[in-house]
Symmetry: none
Subunit: 238 residues, 4 copies
């Protein structure tokens, strides 16, 4: 008979497609539907990946029927793009706002940036978008340019701008700003990536004792010291 080739039951709950029970009551909610669908789609895409998520699941999770989804988004792909787009816009807005009106030392700026990012993005479902995009860009080439232009470029501008600010004010020593920006962002995003992959296992695997806050603090401490202007007499490693 047809069916799953994996008889091993250990493949468990992630693969068991939900029975999609309890027929939803007909409700008119044209205004809120798109958001509900987007939220449901984000959660499912992050959890299972794009291809492994069925449109019917998304619709059901949003409390509507299969057909209703297509009333709002003409295809699964468009839904995907809308998810990325909407959550990306938030990211961009966040960063740009912070970048614009900050007063205080550049160390404080970086510190604020990191903590805010964690609170507003890293610790929310939106962080999962990085995972989806990372996984799917090859299948959606146009998404790549879009994401690069709308997310990666602004993010780089944000962080390298903050570093440059510190250098210009004499607070930081001169360093290649783009490379440092990468080094600053990577541990954060990587953490988010893991929380949405390994971190979701039960029991959570990976580094279970790796507390996000502790990680951010340590990372920040390390980076800021690394950026600091050298005291006279100090030696750098090769």
């Amino acid at each position: 008979m047809p069916g799953r080739s994996i008889t091993d039951q250990s493949v468990s709950k992630n693969l068991s497609k939900p029975p999609l029970s309890e027929p939803p009551i007909r409700q008119r909610r044209k205004q809120t539907r798109p958001q509900e669908l987007l939220d449901a789609a984000l959660a499912l895409f992050v959890e299972k990946g794009f291809a492994a998520t069925r449109t019917e699941e998304v619709a059901h999770a949003a409390g509507v029927s299969k057909g209703t989804l297509y009333l709002y988004y003409p295809s699964k792909e468009d839904l995907f793009k809308a998810v990325v787009r909407q959550n990306l816009v938030n990211l961009i807005t966040e960063g740009l706002e912070v970048l614009a009106h900050f007063e205080g030392s550049s160390s404080d700026l970086l510190c604020h940036l990191m903590n805010t990012w964690w609170e507003r993005v890293g610790s929310t479902p939106a962080a999962g978008i990085h995972k989806i995009v990372l996984s799917e860009v090859r299948n959606f080439p146009e998404l790549a340019t879009f994401y690069a232009a709308e997310v990666m470029e602004p993010a780089d501008r944000l962080f390298s701008g903050a570093v440059r600010r510190g250098i210009d004010s004499g607070e930081f020593r001169p360093v290649p700003v783009h490379e440092v920006a990468h080094a600053l962002m990577a541990p954060m995003i990587f953490l988010a990536l893991h929380r949405h992959s390994f971190g979701a296992c039960s029991p959570p695997c990976g580094n279970p004792d790796l507390d996000p806050r502790a990680l951010i603090d340590t990372h920040l401490d390390l980076a800021l010291r690394g950026l600091q202007v050298r005291q006279p007499g100090a030696h750098s490693a090769p």
Copy 2:
């Protein structure tokens, strides 16, 4: 009997479905078949993801027919697991080779570790399994513990061991070793991840001017300074 596993395949119109051209018809030895299939599968899984890779593509890339693939691997899922497992072993081997009994300063050790990792793993196709695993663990939970135990834990042991070695010798200031290890590895892995997603676009998007070597150097410079024992009279930021 037939049947779909886990995921579907409708990645739709964007996916330029290659016509499966140029079959490499050179005579293969039966002994090397599994390896050739594994290599082909690795490349394709990394490039397109698990669901978007067709078994026929894998077989064709390995120079055999669809049916032959199933002579060696009972299902696409099994093939996938074999790919991950085999490359994991390689990864571990790499890591352990590097470790050994290093002599010299801990700064030099970290420097050596990073450069070696990049040469032997980060810049090779093998780095792609990071991407697959990250993308698919949620669909293959059983791989999570395996990967955590065989890759992440050893890697953490490697880097946090190096850091601890420096602290013990008085070369580094006291820091939380696991967090620092994460901060050290993340930019490297993140870079590798991007090379297998955005970096593969044409034209390459992301930060095209981000040279791996420059990044590693800068990252290392930043981290080692951050680890260095403080000069008398210096103040840390926040």
Copy 3:
């Protein structure tokens, strides 16, 4: 409850699915709704066929909403039958009006019949129901007997009656009347059929230089000569 009828709708990519633009919002009287729906449906069924016509298109073309259509016709099939039935009645009325008590030669009668049919039926949208019925009888067998009894039989009666009239009066030579009636009607109907299929292409294909009037004249000329009593000494072909 929902449900598909008979046919599906996947006429796919070629069908330029019109965006349902320009809704005619003039206030309609409830009394005329059924007629307006029928008119819209006739036009669309003729143009695209039954299956490829969406109920929403019909409703939109009639200036009402999808739901309203179902207030008047319980299903798409019922709408279709109503369209055929109503236009059949028109068709018959046309024919019977023409017949009546014609005075003059039978040649003149045939000439008058053909020209009138073309003016009143062949060149009007009503001719399109020939096309629908022809295309869909197999899917709607119940329409067959109806159409045969109400249209084909009277039409045959009309034309074979005219021919018999000519034979009886000695104007025409003796011929099998039903066969001749078919031969008389076919070119007219065939022309009408083509105008609703090929003739609607842009640029119009088929025989673009085939003028209906010229065709009718030629056809009539040919047929009447063929019907004429043979002159002494003439020989027939085969």
Copy 4:
């Protein structure tokens, strides 16, 4: 509950979708499959129309499974085109062959043409293609030009050529050849059209007593007399 809105059982067997029983035995027949699929598709398309025919029905009628159909034809639309194309090629070939090497009177030529057409086309399933094309050109605009160029134009050339031949030899009186060609072909094609629509009903409706052979004979007799050069002293109708 969902389902057919037509509770009337008289809609009967044409609509009852066959249960597709008796699972076919796996057989390799790569060579004959295309023809078998084309035959099955022709029969079903003619019987039910394009949209109302399910690909699975076609496959089943050809003795294969749904998937196999797609091994040979990439889409339902392509299958449709292949059907038209293959049967059209036959039509064209037939006509052209006859046209080229005929010796004898033009009356005999027309007689031969008609009878041959009936034997080789009109009385075979291929005649049903006219019905499909007539019904579907509006949905497949590119089919229109194709059909016009490959079928209608050659057919016109064939018949108008035969008529012109007769005129040139003095056998026929001068007439507009294209119009006459239409008048000659229409009753034949119309007959075929009816046989594949009304004629397929049970009991056959339309003009049940209209024998194809009698019709052709009568039509030919009428037309040839109409074409004949007038005897001295004869009068034409107005």
